[in-house]
């Protein structure tokens, strides 16, 4: 033991102890690496993010500010300035008094038309598509793959191609110009993408779960309602968001398959904003546009987190 080399190394450790006060710790980095809040990369990342958000938020700022100003103030031309005198007059006018054609009851008429189109279309399309997706994922039948391919193909056909045939079809079954006609059209056009969404989600559910339920004696609907549905809230949220925004923002079908009385909100907004008669009331137009965009915005804010989760769930194991 009394080897000179051993003694030398013990002395070295003692020296370290006295210097650091620790037990065998050497000088230098220790534990987690400290991070600076204002590093160059942080400044670059947050700088870019702030710049980009300002760029995207500026139009919204202009819209909100303009909608709260009176026309005389708007004419002074300073569009970025906050209102000197806040007025809600334009909002009231946009909602209840603005004229389109002979009707002068504002956007409220379009809003309720849109709601009456939206609710049944979203409910029916999601109900049918979820069952479709479930059947295609778990109850493969002869030709189910071919059926699926044809359905997906539907997602790639431009709407414009089908406008005229659908107009004739709706006319023949007596739904042209009615809200139910639009409900039917939206339900059908939502089917390919929704079925794809649900099929991929249900495919990602472990097959053994489905097998176990069959051994346990559950049938087609039993497995769907008792096993699959309770597991698939995220994907239903995704489907609702997709359908609500898609149908609410639809303009093409709304303008073609309905009439003056039953125009959805988007069409009515267009008619108000693009009216060529009289003075252009920028504040009313801004308020009307904000009102129209409110529904999809509310849906996003209310369910954004679930939306991301649902998309990710479908994407990872699709």
């Amino acid at each position: 033991m009394s080897n000179p080399a051993d003694l030398a190394s013990i002395a070295a450790i003692d020296a370290v102890k006295t210097r650091t006060g620790g037990v065998g710790l050497l000088e230098g980095p220790r534990g987690a690496r400290p991070r600076r809040a204002f590093s160059r990369s942080n400044i670059f990342i947050y700088g870019t993010l702030i710049l980009v958000s300002v760029y995207y938020l500026l139009p919204l700022w202009v819209m909100v500010m303009t909608s709260l100003k009176g026309m005389p103030e708007i004419r002074t031309g300073n569009i970025f300035a906050p209102p000197m005198e806040i007025t809600f007059e334009p909002w009231v006018k946009a909602w209840a008094e603005a004229c389109t054609g002979i009707n002068c009851d504002g956007l409220s008429r379009g809003f309720w038309n849109s709601v009456f189109i939206l609710v049944p279309s979203v409910l029916i399309s999601i109900a049918v598509a979820s069952v479709n997706g479930y059947a295609l994922a778990n109850w493969k039948f002869k030709g189910s793959e071919v059926f699926f391919t044809i359905l997906i193909l539907g997602a790639f056909i431009p709407y414009q191609v089908m406008i005229y045939p659908i107009a004739i079809l709706l006319g023949k079954i007596g739904l042209f110009g009615s809200l139910w006609g639009l409900v039917l059209v939206h339900t059908i056009f939502g089917m390919p993408i929704l079925t794809l969404l649900f099929r991929n989600y249900f495919t990602s559910v472990p097959q053994e779960l489905f097998k176990a339920a069959r051994v346990d004696g559950a049938g087609f609907w039993g497995i769907f309602f008792r096993i699959m549905l309770p597991m698939s809230l995220p994907i239903f949220v995704v489907a609702v968001i997709l359908q609500v925004t898609g149908i609410w923002n639809d303009f093409l079908f709304g303008v073609i398959y309905s009439n003056n009385e039953r125009y959805p909100m988007t069409v009515q907004l267009n008619n108000i904003v693009n009216s060529v008669q009289g003075v252009k009331e920028y504040n009313v137009n801004m308020a009307a546009t904000l009102l129209t965009g409110l529904v999809p915005l509310v849906i996003y804010f209310a369910s954004g987190k679930l939306f991301v989760r649902g998309i990710a769930a479908g994407a990872v194991k699709g």
Partner: protein, 362 residues
């Protein structure tokens, strides 16, 4: 003709996926209360066969009988089977109690009866404190217990296990293996168990069916499978480390290969008369006698140690015999170094001899 007391009987079962023949004219009789293990490497058709028995896959041809009933066209729930899956397949949104009662509710069993059966199963499997938890709050071993319970409450005739322990870590696997064996001992139900783990197969089975390419290579007790493998594939598949194979010739009761010449006295030939032919001699590493045991072995020799793998309980020695690598399993206390000369003893009674062409046992 069905065997008199067979519980599950498979007749000429075939299954094709397109051009791929997964099961080929398979026949299998499983006795009442028997524990049968289907063993094979992945893709051999063992899980497919189990899914056919469960009714989750439709066979292309053939019949399945359970308890004397032809169930070939029946739904899985009507066959009197319960199944345990590798991934547990517990319903994630239901409590343990919900999982256990799901099948009973579907069968419209009265409420009081359900409660009673769940209590009984929970007692057997010792999951009583877990009944109100969700599967996500359970450990792997607890989940698999619940999965077994789901089959247990349904009072089925036949239990089907599809690699139930493969997702568990080694220690837990050993624990649950013992529990499954105890469960079978107490319940005396027929159990069919699919695995690729030969230790599970050897320890659990009354009989093992070794499968390859959709066919059964050998059906027999673990003892038969281990000691008298019907062909080279089975001999190679069972046993770890694997059996040594030496290619050579069988001539009038002797086996010759290169410098090796062994009299096969004491070896039981499969047929009374075997003509001379090219053959393969198989010797398990653990059947090579070393140390004091050599005296009991009729054949003696010596090999040079090339590599030593100490594994604690025993030591694996690599040497060369008749120009081929040769494994010897020794006691873990043996101290050897490469280059040592190691005296060995062989016993033909414990060896296996295969036809070089057909690879069938001679």
């Amino acid at each position: 003709m069905l065997a008199p007391n067979s519980s599950v009987s498979i007749r000429d079962l075939s299954l094709q996926f397109g051009a791929v023949q997964v099961l080929q004219n398979l026949n299998l009789d499983i006795g009442d209360g028997e524990f049968l293990v289907l063993l094979g490497s992945s893709g051999c058709g063992k899980s497919t066969l189990l899914n056919c028995i469960a009714g989750l896959l439709e066979p292309t041809d053939g019949q399945i009988h359970i308890k004397g009933r032809n169930v070939t066209w029946l739904e899985p729930s009507e066959r009197g089977i319960g199944m345990v899956f590798q991934s547990y397949a517990l319903y994630p949104q239901m409590t343990v109690r919900g999982n256990l009662s799901f099948g009973l509710k579907n069968a419209r069993v009265p409420k009081a009866d359900i409660d009673q059966r769940i209590a009984r199963a929970a007692k057997i499997l010792q999951i009583e404190p877990l009944l109100d938890r969700k599967p996500a709050q359970l450990s792997g071993g607890q989940r698999q217990r619940v999965a077994i319970g789901r089959a247990l409450v349904r009072d089925v005739d036949v239990f089907l296990f599809d690699e139930p322990l493969s997702n568990l870590d080694a220690k837990l696997r050993a624990d649950l293996r013992v529990e499954i064996k105890r469960l079978h001992h107490n319940l005396t139900n027929t159990m069919i168990y699919v695995t690729h783990d030969q230790v599970e197969a050897m320890t659990l089975a009354d009989r093992i069916a070794i499968m390859k390419g959709g066919q059964i290579m050998q059906l027999g007790s673990p003892d038969e499978i281990y000691n008298r493998p019907q062909n080279k594939y089975v001999a190679d598949f069972i046993g770890s480390p694997a059996m040594n194979f030496i290619e050579g010739h069988y001539e009038k009761g002797r086996f010759r290969a290169n410098d090796l010449d062994i009299a096969l006295d004491g070896y039981r030939l499969a047929a009374p008369q075997v003509a001379d032919r090219p053959a393969i001699l198989g010797i398990r590493p653990e059947h090579v006698a070393t140390g004091a045991m050599i005296n009991a072995a009729p054949i003696h020799g010596e090999v040079a140690v090339e590599l030593v793998e100490p594994m604690g309980a025993d030591t694996l020695v690599w040497a060369t015999l008749a120009g081929k690598p040769f494994r010897i399993r020794m006691d873990g206390q043996a101290r050897l170094a490469p280059g040592d000369r190691l005296p060995i003893g062989l016993d033909p009674a414990k060896a296996s001899l295969f036809d070089a062409k057909t690879e069938e046992r001679l």
